[in-house]
Symmetry: D3
Subunit: 139 residues, 6 copies
């Protein structure tokens, strides 16, 4: 590290700069529950197609593609929970942690189920998260 930078780094320790990327891994500040919702719609869509088919290969592919899509739902939800939401949100919405736990567990349950009703349960929980999310964005 060049000398000048060392000096800047030293000054920073004494008087830290405003943290422009607090509480988020990605410094971009872009979050949207639509990412989880789109994958969850895919999960439910696959469950519906599975019910309507007798083709073994097709059904096999349903199971494996649904596995991946449900994993993406979980990933997008976890990122939202850990990276977007801040302590003040958790205070205002005391159900927040439980809601994310239930939603990610519902995504896991959808891997094991070929019933579109399970996909719908997942979508309903994501809808609850979506409502809270947009309230915090407006605040």
């Amino acid at each position: 590290m060049p000398l000048l930078d060392r000096l800047i780094a030293l000054v920073d320790r004494i008087s830290p700069p405003e943290d422009v990327h607090a509480h988020c891994d990605l410094p971009c500040g872009v979050y949207d529950p639509a990412q989880a919702r789109i994958e969850a719609e895919s999960v439910k869509g696959i469950q519906e197609k599975y019910q309507g088919s007798d083709d073994e290969v097709f059904r096999d592919r349903c199971i494996l593609i649904k596995e991946e899509r449900a994993d993406l739902v979980k990933h997008h939800l976890w990122v939202l929970w850990t990276d977007y939401f801040k302590p003040e949100h958790a205070q205002k919405y005391p159900q927040l942690h439980q809601l994310f736990w239930d939603a990610t567990k519902a995504a896991g349950a959808s891997k094991k189920s070929e019933d579109p009703a399970d996909g719908q349960k997942l979508l309903d929980l994501i809808q609850e998260i979506d409502t809270i999310f947009w309230e915090t964005k407006k605040a």
Copy 2:
């Protein structure tokens, strides 16, 4: 494969069932240009943050995270182009292939640029795709 299935498979060759999953890899039928748009917003957001920072580590992280996000933009656009759009769409929108080529090239260009104007160009092209997409969904 059990005997019964072999028989069904045989019958299928003679009189193929309606292809419920034509033109899409994922049988779910769920597509949404929002997936590409959200990642592109992230690309532009990172370019803006890069301009506003003098922190070397932060800027390094901007470059590497933008690389990933721009790759996701390209992936979501490619999937839309190959999996969602059908020959009749390409006929109705003769600019379709060029538009996707330009948009995915713009995503690549955003990896090399720290200028938010390049992120905006990418977003504008995705907006054009989005307009066509929703017209085809209504049709």
Copy 3:
């Protein structure tokens, strides 16, 4: 699906079999906080090496490899939280959700920090999770 299986499936709806893979995506039942801990040790190790080096390329690589390792920490912790822990655990350990939130946020914070003290904070939180985990396994 062959006839026999259809019958079994039908019977299952009326009297569901014991759910051998309840609450876990992977049916294998194998979980171990060591997976998160090893990656977190890597995060801290990289922070230490970063401090001890003046080589620009080496420091760049530290930042990008730490980013990946911290992502793996988050992933392993999220899986543990959602897939391993069950409602009875959350009842017995009311701090569980907050602890996982803090730990995954600490992993995110370690991406932005080159200070091994931040890596250590992350390791301490994983240690708390590890203690609870092994108590629930013994129970």
Copy 4:
């Protein structure tokens, strides 16, 4: 950023350096349709093995591994289309976009088919791309 670099950066804005990495994400300039072809040979190979087996587990694995290999075919083709080919190529080969669309759609179709003839169709389209690719390299 050290002072010297700031100066260089400033000069660059006024008189930009020759763009050594134009039109490619990877600055290395290495492309080869062999990457797509090898994965497509794998797709066709799996279809042949599927036909020759009665083992359920083996056939299940065929379906899931073919899914991954066909995804790699699509990825390598998309990268070639967007990153390697330039506007002058598209002008000289007006069939370029359609050819890549057909080839990536053929890769998607191979996921759904256990017929080696579909794998061969994919290979034939990649061969057409390969011919154009090496003509542009010689030019």
Copy 5:
């Protein structure tokens, strides 16, 4: 690269600094055969669950999840072999290469087998590697 760094780089060529990250890609120096062992336990766990189930969807999921877990076993073992072990270890343990070859081949074999005995063979080979690993760490 700033002038000071250029000078340091020049000096380095004449008298290279102690290589702080010799023989490892990750500069962190953290390795642990537990990573491969945990995934291999998962492989064996899945084989056991597969034997105990008659549910087609469950068995399909076993096959695909086992495929992923066995791939992780291979990856962790390969990294250990190439990145952790040094020529002096290979000299002291002449069976090292063969042992890793056998272990990674056993992981591949476990993808094709639903017999927990094959998962156990894999675990036994990882145990042999683990013993050598910890001996080299103590040395």
Copy 6:
């Protein structure tokens, strides 16, 4: 599993069918050292471009993209070593294990080096593997 399949499975235990997919994870039987070579050419190409550039962002991107490409080299080589080569090859080519160890270590070393001579060393080792590979295919 339908009754008929159970019977087949039972018969298989007594008289196992010819193992059509012995020694390979992918049942397709397609391997080609070109996959590792193409990525290694990319590694060397990046090292050359790095030397010819003074642009900090460009050089940062070189480091991170080279990291990924070198990882792909390692992956393709490991797969070749474990999945393609069989005990009779190892007997005929006693240098096989050492050669793969050296080559994958050279790929790791290329991550740390911006010197194209290191990329070339990697390519030379892959060439040695390639020669052996095609000899075994002809045999």
